[in-house]
Amino acid sequence: MKKLSIIAILVIFCAVFGFAKVNTANAVQPIRLGLLLPYTGAWAWVGAGADPGAELAVQEINADPALWPIHRPIKLYKEDTETKSAPAIAGARKLYDVDKVCGIVGPTSATVRSIIPLTKEAGALEISPTAGTTKLDVIGGGINGEYIFRTVSSDVVMTAGMVWWAMNKLPFKPTKAATFTADTEGSRSIKGGVVDACKVVGLPLVTQIEFALNQPSYRAELKELFKKGPQVIFWEANPATDATIFKQWYQMGYDGQWIGSDFANRTSAKGSLPASEGVIGVNPGVLVNERTNAWVERLNKISGKKGATPFSANAYDAVILFALSIEKAGSDSRTAIRDALRSVAQPPGVKVYTYAEGIKALRAGKDINYEGIAGTQDFNKYGDPITYLKAEVMTTKDPSGMKRIGTVLPEQIKDIIDGVLAIRAKRAKAQ
């Protein structure tokens, strides 16, 4: 019995690996690129949103064989983190060791820190399109060597955008604000950013409330929140919780303008409308111009949904940046790609707006500066870009549940970001 079981396990493993091997026996060896996202678990909607962006980028890169980076197509290897560490580690391990990818696009804030040591060991490049956590602000930077980048801005940027919007774009000038955030890492990261940004702009926070996700009732929390009558509430939770919060907020008849982050998205809006009519979300978004409109149309063909899904632009940019770096490096060696990234993404190179443009410029021997869909993707010393932010309002009038009401440009919030970073540096020094 025992022997039989062991033989059975061996047979299964051999079959599985055999299957994996057969898959790779192509004529032209494609460049292997990993995509590590939470397709299941608490943040499944993040994976579902980012995935089509990466798919679109690969499709565009592979469309014309003449423009293949180093004359090879790109193949995506996808793994699921389940929004948990153990599967994320196993997935990343599989990507690096079994699929032999040259780098990873992903994962999210929840799991990115578990993957960092693996990436470091593999000597590879990791570009996260979704991890906004402020805890990456230092990690990816000079201290550990340059292997973690992101195409999504740090939550510091997003919260600066949220606070900026509250101060400048609301029909009234707020004098009292509050935070209402979940007890998760992402939410606390947002809360920390809001707290510091409010200090910079001088907006007093009268109440700061944290709560547990997925509860059947938030009435007591809401009551506490509105005790001191805040006019603006910066909040972050998750779609399921948002729906409960807004329904009960509406029922209790409270006032106040809610401003959310990237978690205030269409999934959340679909769940919580019509109660959440008028709630604003400030999140990474593409500029509205001809170029991005065309991009959204192309994306819609892949995603089968209307509009840009969350993080799809960031994932798209990450894959494009990978392809350009590979071309620049001239090989798909992990370290070479890593070293080439900055010379395709940021000044002083020639600004390019599409992959085709970029690769042609590279072949002409020029340094380039890729301007992405999600932002300019010019990395600072921490490997972070300052992306475009968009403001959207939840409304039943739009079939997708959210309507765009404006854009926040990097230069508009630069002062706030610098202020926040200064506060933090001071605080770290004081310790």
Partner: protein, 319 residues
């Protein structure tokens, strides 16, 4: 200031006085409305079948999603959807009993084995729901209304109906247990399953009816949870331990205890959220359960007296 929400709530800080007790009354009653009926159903199931069913939370989920199917896909009014969902969920319960649990109970396996099996059954239901509806949250298609003050209470019309239904159904179940033939049979089976067989009562029939009632109550609970908050595949699983806390507080096999336990647990949870710390709301239910187990393992309605010396359990002199 925005979107025409000009009306300030009467009880905001501007009015000066903050009646936390009134809030507690309203919030506690609403939480009670979501917990009471599933807690009662779970209690009946445990009372008659003598094992802890960990799939019950997922049956609650199934009830909510069946109502959602009726409400959203077939555009049926939520009231009628609730009735259909009760029937379908009861069918599901009977199906599970006949296919999975009946054979095991006849094989006389221990309650613990059945508990482990129910864990597997729960996994299956949860993931079937997940495949069917996806991970995103849903809302019933009900009109959005404001809450109104009614004396010390602060409810929307729907919530008043929910609380009334909850109380009426609970009273109905109590009357049924006390005065009908079925109720007597259920109690007889609970007290002594082998005796019921001898007297010619088909024990199988009693099990079937118990599951119909328990799952019907689960469906009501699921729909109420959905009406108050949102509907998602993990909702019942998250509520399950709270339900067990309600039962243990009241006394596991006592239907009155189940409802009173739900009331106490609901108020303890909301009081924690108001006065201590919102994230520890659920924990307060668990700690209450822990405390009751410490001093009176048979629950508030249990037969034994409160035994303070159980605090020193390992020093006690008697078995």
């Amino acid at each position: 200031m925005n979107r025409g929400r000009k009306t300030r709530p009467r009880h905001s800080s501007q009015d000066g006085v903050y009646f936390a007790m009134e809030d507690l009354l309203s919030y506690g009653l609403l939480t009670f409305a979501t917990l009471a009926l599933p807690s009662l159903g779970l209690c009946l199931a445990i009372k008659v079948t003598k094992y802890f069913n960990l799939a019950y939370g997922d049956i609650v989920t199934a009830g909510a999603f069946l109502a959602l199917l009726m409400n959203l896909s077939f555009k049926i009014n939520i009231g009628i959807a609730l009735l259909i969902s009760i029937a379908l969920t009861a069918l599901l319960g009977v199906f599970l009993h006949k296919v999975v649990f009946k054979a095991l109970m006849e094989a006389k396996v221990g309650p613990l084995t059945l508990l482990v099996v129910s864990l597997g059954v729960g996994l299956v239901i949860r993931n079937v729901v997940l495949i069917g509806w996806g991970p995103q949250p849903y809302q019933f298609n009900t009109p959005l209304t404001r809450a109104k003050h009614l004396g010390p209470f602060f409810f929307t019309p729907n919530q008043i109906v929910m609380i009334l239904i909850c109380i009426l159904v609970a009273i109905g179940i109590f009357l049924m247990l006390r005065y009908t033939q079925l109720g007597r049979l259920m109690r007889a089976t609970s007290d002594n399953p082998s005796l019921s067989l001898i007297r010619g009562i088909s024990i199988e029939k009693v099990y079937t009816y118990t599951w119909i009632i328990a799952c019907g109550l689960a469906a009501i609970g699921g729909v109420f949870m959905g009406m108050l908050g949102t509907i998602k595949p993990g909702m019942g699983e998250e509520a399950l331990v709270t339900l067990f806390a309600c039962l243990i507080v009241g006394g596991i096999e006592n239907p009155y205890g189940a409802v009173v336990g739900a009331l106490i647990t609901a108020f303890a949870m909301e009081a924690t959220a108001i006065w201590i710390s919102p994230p520890y709301k659920v924990v307060s239910a668990y700690l209450l359960m822990f405390f009751i187990l410490l001093i009176k393992p048979s629950g508030i309605f249990g037969r034994e007296k409160i035994q303070w010396k159980y605090f020193l359990g390992f020093l006690r002199s008697r078995q």
